[in-house]
Symmetry: C2
Subunit: 338 residues, 2 copies
Amino acid sequence: MALGADSYDILLQRGLLAKAGTLLNLGRKVLVVTDSGVPAQYAAQLAAQCAQPVLVTVQQGEGAKSFDGLQTLLGAMLDAGFHRGDCVVAVGGGVVGDLAGFAAATYMRGIDFYNIPTTSLSQVDSSIGGKTAINFNGVKNIVGTFYQPPRVLVDPDLLATLPPRQLAAGFAEAIKAGMIADEALLALFETGAAEARLEEVLLRALRVKKDVVEQDEKEAGLRRILNFGHTLGHGIESVYGLGGLLHGECVALGMLPMCKTPALRQRLSSVLARYHLPTHAAFDPDLVFAAVCHDKKGAGNKTAIVEVETAGHALMRTVENEALRQLLVREAKEGIGA
Amino acid sequence: MALGADSYDILLQRGLLAKAGTLLNLGRKVLVVTDSGVPAQYAAQLAAQCAQPVLVTVQQGEGAKSFDGLQTLLGAMLDAGFHRGDCVVAVGGGVVGDLAGFAAATYMRGIDFYNIPTTSLSQVDSSIGGKTAINFNGVKNIVGTFYQPPRVLVDPDLLATLPPRQLAAGFAEAIKAGMIADEALLALFETGAAEARLEEVLLRALRVKKDVVEQDEKEAGLRRILNFGHTLGHGIESVYGLGGLLHGECVALGMLPMCKTPALRQRLSSVLARYHLPTHAAFDPDLVFAAVCHDKKGAGNKTAIVEVETAGHALMRTVENEALRQLLVREAKEGIGA
């Protein structure tokens, strides 16, 4: 990831967790952060390679991304006498990475943060790019920073323990990457080769994100193409996420109405179905519209959306909120709400 | 302030507050943050120049620099529907700047932050350099970020309402700047010309800080010279701050033992006395030593200290904690503890 003084390496290889001690500077105090949904042996394996590990296991789920969760991590560092030269390592999915990254970004105005993603979602997407965040007053990711790690270790072996539904939900972000910037990546899913060629999937998806982030680290413009499927997806997630839909599943649903041709939509729909990702969901268009408007990507009466007309090429456009509402009403009747 | 992409202007002129609307982009939602110790007309004057002002007045004092204070500001922005293009303006001293800056740095991963310092302490020092922070678990400034404002307005007229003791306490940081890097600035205080030549004092003190921050924004090395007087000063402040000593007064006391010659110490002592800053204080060396060790600038068994042998030139050195303890015991008997 080439970001001037904040540049860093993303290593992708099977077996990296076992070698973390030789790849990261763990000869100091290390806050190892994981959650109760991650197999405990991963964090234990990392902690065993640290000179002075302090292990914190937060509760699984978005609830950990809170000021309470943040204070738990900061308090643990303070109690253990962490100084500026010490570090934080996240061993988990997006929730753990977002929370641990924010704690590292703010403890003593920033200490080193390493990320070892353990889910497909975080391995293809959230572990790179430097976004850290917690939720506040019911709004997702509303408080956080951009904070780049000095190194990210992506170990595909860690996905072996991931339940199939979680694995597929993470793949939705890789399918997104294919849709906006890499048709060959989309084709890997289309032909059902994704699992057999897992490293290639991860590499291609990470490369799409890396290329975008390098050009627009702070999301001033181009980086918004990574939000393909997320504008509606977040809205659906706000309303129905607690009812059981995973983030990646909401993104899958959010991508479909943003396909500009029926042919492309059909193509995407087939890919999603192949990985048992949802292509239809009943939803209340008014509730989802209200959630979209409440979401941070909108501003004023207009909302920035990302569409795809030809696989591998994203288009950015600003639409009136009313047009978005009408789209949702239409979809609820005919499309993803069938 | 030349910091690459994060460079910004620091404007210093009488009457700037009245012209803020022409100097800052206030044609948007603006969170105006002040505290109950700042004359209310300053924030009101700024708010009157904003398209959509939201005014928050926090309680005066360090207590506002807390997670509660932070959530108050973030919640106010969320309630008012602030987006990435909106901004925060601090109208106050160091507490307001640190807190408002941290809120701006973390709301939606960072929105514009302008600073209009109203105290001598913040006008000569804390309003530039990009340090934001809150206190946590009894440790000062332990949580925060480096976050540079796009513009800082220093209006010396605002100091007219500052109580003389507060004014002098802020001057302690300017005296510090003179001691470490600008003997002519020290001489302005020595000759009693500081108040009559206020703009020159502010300009020179800000220039010292600017030059240092430009070379070492994130305090990897050189920036630590700005901590002259602060290692012991923070320790004294931790123990006796609530008992009535102001930050600048503690810095004054903390500088004296760090003068490497009796002649320089005498010179500094005379300058401090001229501005009614403390040159003697009874203190418990063990309590202050414990506070210094607890302070974030120490690491392990050693502490980084800054000394001055010749006015205008700072020296950095790492000493054993035990040597620092002995110094404090000596001082408590003979020097600042007389």
